[in-house]
């Protein structure tokens, strides 16, 4: 059972869909208006998917991804608004906050042994209570609207603005993509090349056997949730930069896409199997479908229907071809 095959399937699906949508609406290849924002979205939601993937790797879930992103973004907003920190210093503070809340959640799970679903759900509610309190106390409009230097550039600049001599990158690729590529590389290395990463997978595969093999399973549970909080925070930052302000509603839409991206990409719900590239491709697939439908001009009457149907058809076709491939 190699894990390569489904990934090629996903990639193929994406290519086919891009070609179809591109034919139906040539505007699909508009670098500035379509590809750039599409890739920016893919970057953001890939990070969201990774935040879920790391907890799925130990067979847990994080229902508070969105709210952890908001929590983290709140600290970023605070440090820009109150401490007037530069962009990346604030980012670090926010990421620390995200990692802390994630680690705390993981610690509760490890200590009590209560199902991660329940703990993260409870954490979601608690943060849902906490965050608005802070925002309404500190801001007029439930958002930190200060824009530190560099925020606008980060939102708008593409690789086209990065040149080595005369060779410039593609203007279709937002610089923000780098913020997704970095954690992808880091996680890929973690899971494939290092001891803690593999221990996460084994903890997910069979917690009892992991414990009996000398893996510090509790510590791994904390690690996974810490990473999840950290990545959620990063995604919150990226979304805030992309939309304009650090607000309480950051991350409200993260929950389902976080699972969708990871699971489409081949990460197992039961734990033990992850795919970083898969998460990227799974996320891309869903966003390409949505963007394509939008460009073809589908109204709300049909948008969601088509979205679901195309997803099902595409995946069924993929499975069908795969099975044929195995047989022949």
């Amino acid at each position: 059972m190699s894990t390569r095959k489904p990934l090629f399937g996903l990639l193929g699906l994406i290519v086919v869909l891009v070609v179809v949508f591109g034919t139906l609406s040539p505007a699909f290849f508009d670098e500035r208006l379509v590809l750039f924002p599409l890739l920016r979205d893919i970057a953001i939601y890939t990070v969201v998917g990774l935040a879920q993937m790391v907890v799925l790797s130990i067979g847990h879930m994080n229902l508070a991804v969105g709210r952890m992103a908001a929590f983290s973004a709140m600290f970023m907003g605070l440090s820009y608004d109150r401490l007037h920190l530069p962009l990346y210093a604030g980012l670090c503070i926010g990421l620390l906050a995200g990692a802390a809340i994630g680690a705390f959640t993981g610690w509760i799970i490890a200590r009590t042994g209560v199902n991660s679903f329940v703990v993260t759900l409870a954490m979601d509610f608690a943060l849902l209570g906490l965050i608005p309190v802070v925002y309404t106390a500190l801001t007029a409009n439930a958002a930190f609207t200060v824009k530190p230097d560099g925020m606008r550039e980060l939102r708008q600049y593409s690789l086209g603005d990065v040149c080595l001599g005369n060779v410039c990158g593609s203007p279709a690729v937002p610089q923000m993509m780098l913020l997704a590529v970095a954690p992808m590389l880091a996680l890929g290395y973690l899971y494939h090349g290092t001891r803690p990463g593999r221990e996460l997978l084994l903890t997910g595969s069979n917690p009892l056997a992991a414990e009996l093999s000398g893996i510090p399973t509790r510590r791994r549970v904390v690690t996974a949730h810490l990473l999840s909080g950290l990545l959620a925070g990063l995604a919150g930052f990226m979304l805030a930069v992309a939309t304009g302000s650090f607000r309480a509603t950051i991350g409200e839409e993260f929950l389902l896409p976080s699972f969708l991206g990871a699971i489409l990409g081949g990460t197992a719900m039961a734990g033990g199997v992850v795919s970083v590239i898969g998460t990227f491709l799974g996320t891309s697939l869903t966003l390409v479908i949505r963007r394509g439908l939008e460009l073809v001009g589908i109204g709300l009457e049909y948008l969601n229907v088509y979205l679901g149907v195309i997803l099902l058809l595409a995946l069924s076709a993929d499975r069908f071809l795969q099975r044929r491939g195995v047989k022949s």
Partner: protein, 338 residues
């Protein structure tokens, strides 16, 4: 009835006498207007009709109504980009997130499009769109609370039901209601606001029922500044048979029906049709380079109207008149045209 307040700009003020005469759109066929609400909501339904009508009346290249933003600012931004890629070049937008929408407007403007903020203005003091044509939500909420307080006889206990607590517009509505209550200097007591009950009809219904079960006897009036709680409050009060005055917002058929049968006392109707119709026209003038805004980012009130059983059948006439006046005001004071 309610008295106009100082903060509610009266749109009719100086619009009849114009120096330059009526402005006619000369060439609208190159202008394609996209009307983009924050998501699907009964409030925006009149935009659809207005889109059709303005396209016909002003011979525009096209007017599209697209509600697929699904109340997500990132999705809305994408949608706007997609529409731009499809050739739309003028945008009337209800921003999902009032604190973020200026960024979106800025992006659109920098790409050379005409942009109007419709039905809601950006939070804060600046508006990066060419103009903002909307009800002042704070004023609308204030009027609603005022109406409820009047109906209660100026004293008693009032409750405010509203939507997403961390939305800037919700905060404005809360302010509006608070202000109306403060003006009674203690005669009316306001219970803690019940927010976050607009997600779905059942949540709203449950919140209303629990509220009535716990406090029904003391409550004299309910102001709902969101759709689902309004529907639920009208039904809940009717079922409980309590003499509570319900004042709703907007004029969805369901709410008008409640007013007709008496389960709701009044509603504050806004002017979505006018926003879309006049907005499209002004956008076309701007995008076709025929006119420019004298004062970019200006905020124009599209009007709000108290609807009770008495005027439920006639308020729309008044509203249409208001729209016409707004159009004249654009011509007279807001635009500078070649």
């Amino acid at each position: 009835s309610t008295r106009p307040t100082e903060s509610a700009a009266v749109p009719t003020a100086a619009s009849t006498a114009t120096a330059s005469g009526p402005v006619e759109l000369r060439e609208g066929s190159k202008v394609k207007v996209a009307l983009v609400p924050g998501g699907a909501h009964p409030y925006f339904q009149p935009w659809k009709e207005a889109a059709r009508q303005s396209a016909a009346d002003f011979h525009l290249g096209g007017v599209v109504f697209n509600e697929t933003a699904e109340w997500d600012q990132a999705k809305q931004n994408n949608l706007l980009d997609s529409l731009a890629a499809q050739g739309y070049n003028a945008f009337g937008v209800f921003g999902v997130s009032p604190t973020d929408i200026n960024t979106t407007f800025g992006d659109l403007k920098s790409k050379g499009f005409a942009v109007a903020s419709l039905a809601s203005c950006p939070a804060g003091d600046t508006n990066e769109a060419d103009f903002c044509l909307s009800t002042d939500v704070e004023v609308a909420a204030y009027k609603a609370a005022k109406a409820a307080i009047d109906a209660m006889g100026g004293k008693g206990v009032l409750v405010h039901l509203t939507g997403n607590n961390v939305d800037a517009n919700t905060q404005r509505r809360i302010k509006g209601v608070d202000k109306a209550v403060e003006e009674t200097s203690g005669a009316v007591k306001l219970l803690p606001v019940v927010a976050d009950v607009d997600k779905d009809l059942q949540t709203a219904q449950k919140a209303v029922a629990d509220l009535l079960a716990a406090r029904g006897k003391e409550i004299g009036g309910i102001v709902s500044t969101a759709y689902n709680p309004a529907v639920a409050a009208a039904a809940g009060v009717k079922k409980a048979g309590l003499p509570i005055k319900v004042v709703a917002i907007d004029d969805d058929p369901e709410i008008l029906r409640a007013i007709r049968e008496g389960s709701a006392y009044a509603t504050i109707a806004q002017n979505p049709r006018g926003q879309a119709y006049v907005g499209s026209w002004a956008l076309a003038l701007l995008q076709s380079q025929q006119c420019t805004m004298r004062q970019p980012g200006v905020v124009i009130d599209s009007g709000s109207f108290l609807v009770t059983k008495e005027n439920v059948d006639g308020y729309d006439t008044e509203r249409r008149k208001t729209s016409e006046q707004i159009k004249q005001r654009f011509a007279a004071e807001l635009l500078s045209c070649r």
